[in-house]
Symmetry: D2
């Protein structure tokens, strides 16, 4: 049986191809993909052919925010039954390096991550994945929501790094999907105030619809005095990073989630020192899926309302370019099967 | 002007007396008390004349869960205006011992705490308190709710000790006011499951009304396998402590909030070791009022619905005995003035 | 080629037998054992045939504190060369359960641990082990010291749990090998005061020789006022646990390392609450070998001076009973080969 | 009785003047100064008349690394006897702001800190200070060493922020007094490797004399692969900050201790994100004196060997300029009295 896949060529064209059906390894499951979210990184590979040192040097299947159904299992894969609906955690670490042994598997140097060259992603009918990274989801989580547990995990991880909790005041710079996810997680964590800042009025409107306080960074400054315990920086903009850090209170925490276009960014070191701020960045996430599933299953966070538009597997190119004419778009999904 | 007070005599009789109006020290405010909650410790002093090494050896005013209005200020007290409505944090630490300097002011050996012999409490028309421990409350917090920020702080502190957060599963043993407060805080902190256990069906019914999963410890055991990340033990019962600890998962946390009748309690050390559990206890709280105010002001926790019955200053004895015939009672309040 | 092993029968007799040479799995190494330390648990299995729920129901090879030389490798084991001298970390976890994924692999429910029924140990000429748990050691660490990195890891883990560091004051109850190891680690961690307490004068003398302050618990009490930031309880004695906890200062930490004869032990809960102590226990250790190797290799801790007596593989029974007539004995070693 | 003081005028001239003897407040002690260390900030004020927003707008007494003897006490100051030899912690916080209440008193916005305009420092015969910040020292700590507990505290704080402990590998950039202090503290904390990097060969030679591994940043790069768990950046040089951060391993910690000439410094954000580093800065220190005293008193750190040259109170100008012709100088002291 062939396995249809949407493939990005090295000259950055997207075509649907028939490929061989993947065969699960001993601890793998074979998953029939249902829904895949479009991530900014997919768009970036499509437009630029690279992200930093990762270069599209061979045909690549994009897509890494995915859900599906288990249709077969490897000989030693006994955790899930065939027929189980699962969310796919896209990065499978080696399990035995020093980072893995201490529980920081997102920093595993040998991780295999969907849609990161040369590893193919999930804009395809079937993939195999180690059973530990196929997370069963309850009926209360839709296929789309299951796929969106991946960007939700980014928000969970950012909030975990910042120890957002009861009474925390949080500033989120960048109100795109990642910023909104981070803000939703912060609110679910008991944050007493969550403010989203952006320069895109459509995104600010959406943030307002979701009940968040917003700041239009084009016209308004943050509060005069630093008022945030935590900055979750999701824009990658040097200006937002600088202004955001200055808005953080003494002993507060700054988590750099958004990737800057250039590796080096001028930071206000005098503020970091004078207020003894803690600044860190996130690289993917680890051990977040159980929490993400609980958030979505219990209704604390409604992921379906973030879906702006749905395309088919043959429309991946439209999915990757939808945002160009739709500045209000939040999440775009590709439905591979139902 | 006289200052009426409800006084517990050394022979454990309660009478309303007229006392001299207190005079605020330089950094004190004078507060006209409005609402005071009855705490189990008040009842205990009334019934037994002592709690552990604290003995009623002179007439004592009980009451320490209190709100009121600032009516005068000491010469150097400039933080709040006269007329400000405040919740009173009942323990004022020395500010300069080793514990205070590291931020653990609840462990200050020289703390002055309302209604702990020989310090008088707040079942009286007026008290003085250091301005730092009179916390202004917004209009959205009623006088009763402002008083109940004190037991809420106990819950905030317990959850903070246990690092209850997003996705945490919490077992609360003891569904009295403290247990319910702890459960409410856990839920507001993003806990994915909060279970209240008790042997009192009235309390379990109230817990159910508040939306919590409940376990009747008289007839049902906890889950077969350990399922809680955190135990908040609010009963003081040795049986509940033992069963509760056994319900906690590997690397989980146990916070002993309820006071046991006897100082020494047999604990399952083999379970603590084999699962590497962390066990601690709470002694009052520190730096919790800002969070408690945010929780109550923002509507995350509705304290008013915990009020079962209201008495006047002349009815303190009835307030202290109300629970005897009202096993369903949750919080009993004394309204000193309006 | 046969593989000689010292075997404990179910009727608790020890005999040297010839067994088949073990064959390394794909990621295993085959290790020729050189030195093995005798642990209290080995003695306990020999005397009682069980430890808690672990029962000797089939012939068992004891021994789990071991060093040796790699003599063969599995097909996928490429981390170490044949000829590498290694210390063996005796517990190999599954690598994929929830505990392993968060870095707490010592709590893996599927761990395979040397000399824990039904897994054979290292009183034998050859064993196989996953290459990740064979830690290369430099020449500055002797074969005996390499074997003793295992109990040293227990001390490293205890100090890590207690966050022993610069300026910490530490009380260690129980001056046997584990207590002494813990004390040595505490001193190397910058503890400003380390006191060892025991009732065995030989052990106290040895502790004194190692430069530690000592307390004879038969005749002397701890200081009048609580003076320890940390209690490392290595005796398992209920009396020592109780007195030790009472010696810990506010907000201090208690680590229960020694195993009590009975699972339940009366603890002073009033002290734990009133001082907000943190009490935990240790179950083996995780990720300690790099630190243990650094401590021994750099000379911060001299493990060889803890060796009291050496026996051969045919003298395992003498090794297991040596302590009976030698109350001053610290570590007893079995040299399998040179 | 007059009180001689070395005063910096607003036109940056230094003269010894006679001032009125200070009178201790109720909780203050009056201290006869013995030894004062010269800090880079003293030199900076003398040369530039300002540090950032702190400007010498009125005559100022410099000096804040000080020891002395208590010669009088305020009416409520009962912690120390007259005649007690003390080290002076130079910053006295308000004790009641939010930062003080949580134990971060170094971030108190109302701190009074010696030799920070407009607060006079300790290049004078007598000063008053709140008794809590006059720390008694044992005879094993000399007057100079007692004064140098202040910069040692900077090192203690930096290591505490970075959680330097057993087995930590530490890179210190900048081998001046602060870098050396930090390195000494790291070594005393059980760090398994401490490397000092600088461009000043005299300082590198001194660091080598103290037993540290050194890197000459003019000619040598750090290791090819990141090898430090912790970077303690004590130079303030943007080049050192950048290279230093790149030398830190995944999940490592960067503490910015040295002050950069300009507030904003380009940082490699891609490295911070990709390795999930934690970056913070230090602003003075809190609760470090007990640890610093223990380190110096127990012999773990010998502060006296860092003293390069001693001047008298009338030679403060020479003390402040000594480094100009003495690039090998480490700490320069002013002896006010013996």
């Amino acid at each position: 049986m062939p396995n249809r896949a949407s493939v990005l060529s090295t000259d950055l064209q997207i075509r649907t191809e028939e490929r061989a059906m993947p065969v699960p390894g001993p601890r793998d499951v074979l998953v029939a993909i249902r829904s895949v979210g479009v991530c900014g990184s997919d768009i970036h590979y499509f437009q630029e052919g690279r992200i930093g040192s990762f270069v599209v040097e061979a045909p690549l299947v994009l897509g890494h925010e995915s859900s599906g159904v288990i249709v077969d299992r490897g000989v030693d894969a006994r955790r899930h039954d065939v027929g189980t609906r699962v969310a796919l955690e896209p990065g499978v670490p080696c399990g035995s390096c020093a980072e893995c042994r201490v529980g920081r598997y997102n920093l595993c140097p040998d991780v295999s991550f969907f849609a990161t060259p040369p590893v193919d992603g999930t804009f395809t009918e079937h993939v195999t994945i180690h059973e530990d990274f196929a997370h069963p989801v309850p009926d209360s989580i839709s296929d789309d929501a299951a796929a969106l547990l991946e960007p939700l995990s980014v928000g969970v991880w950012a909030c975990a790094k910042a120890k957002v909790g009861l009474g925390t005041t949080v500033l989120v710079t960048g109100a795109g999907p990642v910023g909104v996810m981070a803000a939703l997680v912060a609110r679910a964590s008991g944050a007493s105030r969550v403010v989203l800042a952006d320069i895109n009025p459509h995104r600010l409107a959406k943030a307002g619809d979701l009940g968040f306080e917003t700041i239009d960074s084009r016209t308004a400054a943050f509060d005069d005095a630093p008022t945030a315990d935590v900055l979750l920086e999701c824009s990658g903009s040097p200006a937002a990073i600088d202004a955001g850090i200055r808005a953080v209170k003494r002993a507060g925490t700054v988590v750099l989630v958004g990737m800057a276009a250039h590796g080096k960014v001028p930071l206000p070191v005098d503020v970091i020192q004078g207020r003894e701020l803690w600044v860190t960045g996130t690289f993917r996430y680890a051990n977040t899926y159980p929490t993400a599933i609980a958030l979505a299953a219990g209704g604390a966070i409604n992921l379906d309302e973030l879906v702006s538009k749905v395309f088919s597997l043959d429309e991946v190119e439209q999915a990757l370019t939808h945002h160009l004419d739709n500045p209000a778009a939040m999440k775009v999904m590709v439905h591979v099967s139902e």
